[in-house]
């Protein structure tokens, strides 16, 4: 059987796993990352949400998410942020730094959260936005032109404009118009379209279709398809040709901004000589005393044993396959670590309840070093760190903190194993 030996083994290729790998490699460790498949980061919006709404007035978008988190962790000691607030700002700057080194700039708003339009015309509070989404001029725009593409599913300009009028504080005289662009395709996938737009001649066809509709102080909103990679080149070419600001809006998966972020981080890891094996599932573990000495992984019809000094668990929650629900109990699939399950009902009666569902908070409890603990607070396995959606205590869909928690916990785990 094949054997591998490494300083740090990371299980999972989502945002938390990639961040942990980046920070551990940055500390000079030999890092191996294995994952069942390509992580769900490619399905995400590509924005980094830290905290969405006010603690005191849950219906209001919070102005300063960092302050809100500091206020929140004082009260909620079991929230994942309570374990990592000390490195939150440093993790964000590390993230911005490695992204920009790999051609993907992220921007912060003038104050606190960005309010960015979604494809449905709702407003999304988010902390870090890719430069191509950071629509600074939008609240002051006199003219907003929303463009879609013939053949591209899941983006309808009229839906966006109709809802945006109600959801965003736009100037009273702001004109919203729509335009369908035609590349002569009956069906377009976002990836195929992004690939086509990397070609200058295709982009120029768009420019000639858009030009007759330009107006004074116009802002153009488009689906997130402007280029496959760091996207800056396609976007800048378009802005230069049109002479107005153009922004992408967030859309449902599969959408490019999440994929671009995933690509940039994977690219960074490869440059740092991190070895990555996808299609590889951890199916067994050897735990001696309080240490996991090696794991058994299966992939492509063969087995692999991996010995590691430190292991970082980043397998995600129910959707990622890191946790499985069975009648009456929830199990963590790799190490069978203790899961904190709330005693009352697992789900709320109302599907879209504003309080969210209790099952979102299920997960593994950890100490301040992100080591898994049991209900008595004792460390279960010392050389494991648990990060991202594996952690107990966060209500991601309601709090809008998923990527923020993933980023900060991943960073901290990578930093801690770098010191081992």
């Amino acid at each position: 059987m094949m054997k591998k030996n490494t300083d740090v083994l990371i299980i999972g290729a989502g945002l938390s796993g990639l961040m942990a790998a980046a920070k551990a490699a940055d500390s000079g460790k030999k890092v191996l990352l294995v994952a069942k498949g390509m992580g769900a980061l490619g399905l995400s919006s590509g924005c980094i949400d830290l905290w969405g709404y006010s603690l005191d007035h849950p219906e209001e978008i919070c102005q300063d998410p960092v302050q809100e988190i500091i206020k929140m962790v004082a009260a909620q000691k079991d929230h994942p942020y309570a374990k990592v607030w000390d490195v939150l700002e440093e993790s964000l700057s590390f993230f911005q730094q490695i992204c920009s080194q790999n051609g993907l700039a992220y921007e912060v708003a003038e104050k606190g959260n960005w309010l960015l339009p979604t494809a449905l015309g709702t407003v999304r509070p988010t902390y870090l936005a890719p430069a191509g989404m950071a629509a600074r001029e939008l609240p002051r725009a006199k003219n907003i032109l929303v463009m879609g593409f013939q053949g591209l599913k899941d983006f309808y300009p009229e839906v966006l404009t109709t809802n945006l009028k109600n959801n965003m504080n736009l100037p009273a005289d702001c004109q919203l118009t729509t335009l369908m662009l035609d590349l002569g395709k009956i069906e377009l996938s976002p990836n195929n379209l992004a690939y086509l737009l990397e070609k200058d001649e295709v982009l120029q066809r768009l420019v000639s279709q858009i030009k007759p509709h330009l107006a004074e102080e116009m802002v153009i909103l488009m689906p997130p398809v402007l280029g496959e990679r760091g996207h800056t080149k396609v976007l800048l070419n378009l802005v230069e040709s049109l002479g107005v600001q153009v922004y992408e809006v967030t859309n449902i998966p599969p959408s490019l901004p999440g994929q671009r972020l995933q690509q940039a981080l994977l690219h960074h890891l490869k440059k740092q000589s991190v070895e990555i094996i996808l299609g590889c599932t951890v199916i067994g573990t050897t735990v001696l005393g309080e240490h996991c000495t090696e794991v058994l992984a299966e992939g492509s019809g063969k087995n692999l044993t991996i010995a590691a000094k430190s292991i970082i668990l980043a397998t995600g929650s129910f959707l990622g396959g890191g946790m499985e629900a069975q009648p009456g109990k929830v199990i963590e699939t790799v190490f069978h670590l203790p899961i904190k399950v709330l005693d009352e009902k697992w789900s709320a009666k109302e599907f879209l309840s504003l309080e969210g569902h209790p099952f979102s908070k299920f997960g593994i409890e950890v100490n301040n070093h992100l080591q898994p603990v049991n209900s008595q607070g004792e460390v279960v396995i010392k050389n494991i760190r648990v990060i991202g959606a594996n952690l107990a205590g966060a209500n991601y869909p309601i709090e809008k903190c998923g990527n923020g928690v993933a980023l900060a916990t991943g960073y901290k785990a990578g930093k801690l194993v770098g010191e081992v």
Partner: protein
């Protein structure tokens, strides 16, 4: 539909991760993508085999879909079987029947390898070949070596034998690029490891990829018999070709349900990595001052071994190896030689051209012979196998 089929299909949660990573669907709308051709249409095909869609012919069998699927769905198996079903229902052009027989072409070229190479370079002949047969006149043809690997290979008697391997060279190393096999033999003999070779058949991958599953199954059955015999005699089976590795090690079982449990296959560098782990890899490296770009073949990714050459090449003084990280090269064996698929294959390969330019590397290395050919075609730079670099570092 069996319960097993149902479970396999229900594992697909329609997340579209496979579609967003499919190199073919990215550049053309002729391929409906792995999800639609795979699990979506499989529901219909299991009830009615004739429901197979012609778009399946555009699947290049790179197996990226399997690698990226977070739900463990064997998409490429569904697609390979569907292609087989399509070919058995509708037949295949003569071109596909010939192109997939790389072993037969290798044997025929033995009559006069240099003449074959010369003929392959005559433009009017190539244009005729495109018009009559549908073989792209633009794609660089692989060159045949004056002597095959099996002819050139000389068994060494080793005084202090530390291990024994059976080397499966594969058609490309045997007929086109024997230097790779010879470099491997030198490196292993340098470690006092005995190398055994034998007459094997083509692993069958090109035949599978062109949809002739029954023919390929025959190759599989006969190869398995031999592989089992060597494994029982204590030989570790190794390859230098990731596609042969994947076919012998995984496809025989997944596609044909044949028992492959009595032998295991390793990439040559996986074997060397084991020596490294055991502290038995020699480190008498000389300085190799090169900045290399490494291309990871899709089938090596799919074999789930990571980058086996990474740990060893990192130990060679002076050598810098950077991952090109440019995805599929686009050739996919016979795929890129077909007239209608050549443009798709070249479009996919543009990421490689760009990465090689941006990184300004001295040379590109990659394990797969077909990837080597495509990268040479795209960049006009010689591309070699990592084992050749290792042999150079040992001054062999």
């Amino acid at each position: 539909m069996t319960q097993g089929d149902r479970v396999a299909l229900d594992n697909c949660i329609k997340c579209s991760i496979c579609v967003s990573h499919c190199p073919v669907a990215r550049v053309t709308d002729k391929f409906a993508g792995p999800k639609q051709n795979g699990p979506d249409l499989e529901r219909f095909r299991l009830e009615e085999p004739a429901a197979v869609h012609p778009s399946i012919g555009y699947c290049s069998n790179c197996k990226t879909c399997d690698v990226v699927c977070p739900s463990g769905v064997s998409i490429s198996v569904m697609n390979c079987k569907a292609k087989g079903e399509y070919v058995s229902l509708h037949g295949a052009p003569l071109r596909d029947k010939l192109l997939c027989r790389v072993e037969m072409m290798g044997k025929m070229s033995r009559l006069a390898p240099s003449l074959v190479n010369v003929l392959g370079g005559i433009k009017p002949l190539r244009i005729l070949g495109e018009m009559v047969m549908g073989v792209s006149s633009k794609m660089t043809l692989p060159q045949y070596a004056p002597k095959t690997f099996l002819q050139l290979y000389k068994p060494q008697s080793l005084a202090n034998c530390k291990g024994k391997v059976l080397y499966y060279p594969g058609c490309y190393v045997n007929y086109n690029n024997p230097e790779v096999g010879l470099a491997l033999v030198k490196v292993l003999n340098h470690h006092n490891i005995e190398v055994m070779v034998d007459q094997f058949e083509c692993c069958g991958l090109p035949i599978i990829a062109n949809g002739f599953l029954d023919v390929a199954k025959g190759h599989a059955e006969r190869n398995i018999q031999k592989l089992k015999k060597y494994a029982a005699e204590g030989y570790q089976i190794i390859t230098t070709c990731p596609s042969c590795n994947l076919t012998l090690g995984r496809d025989y079982h997944e596609l044909f349900d044949l028992d492959t449990s009595e032998y295991s296959v390793m990439d040559a560098f996986e074997y060397l990595d084991q020596l490294l782990e055991q502290g038995e890899l020699k480190t008498d490296f000389c300085n190799v001052s090169l900045k290399l770009g490494y291309h990871q073949p899709c089938h090596l990714k799919a074999a789930g071994s990571g980058v086996p050459s990474l740990a060893i090449l990192q130990r060679i003084p002076g050598l810098q190896v950077q991952d090109l990280d440019a995805g599929c090269c686009g050739l996919s064996g016979s795929y890129g030689f077909k007239k209608e698929k050549y443009p798709i294959s070249q479009e996919i390969g543009q990421n490689i051209t760009r990465a090689v330019q941006e990184m300004a590397v001295d040379q590109v290395i990659t394990e797969c012979g077909m990837c080597q050919l495509q990268i040479f075609h795209l960049t006009h730079q010689e591309v070699i196998h990592p084992i050749q670099i290792l042999a150079r570092a040992y001054k062999l």
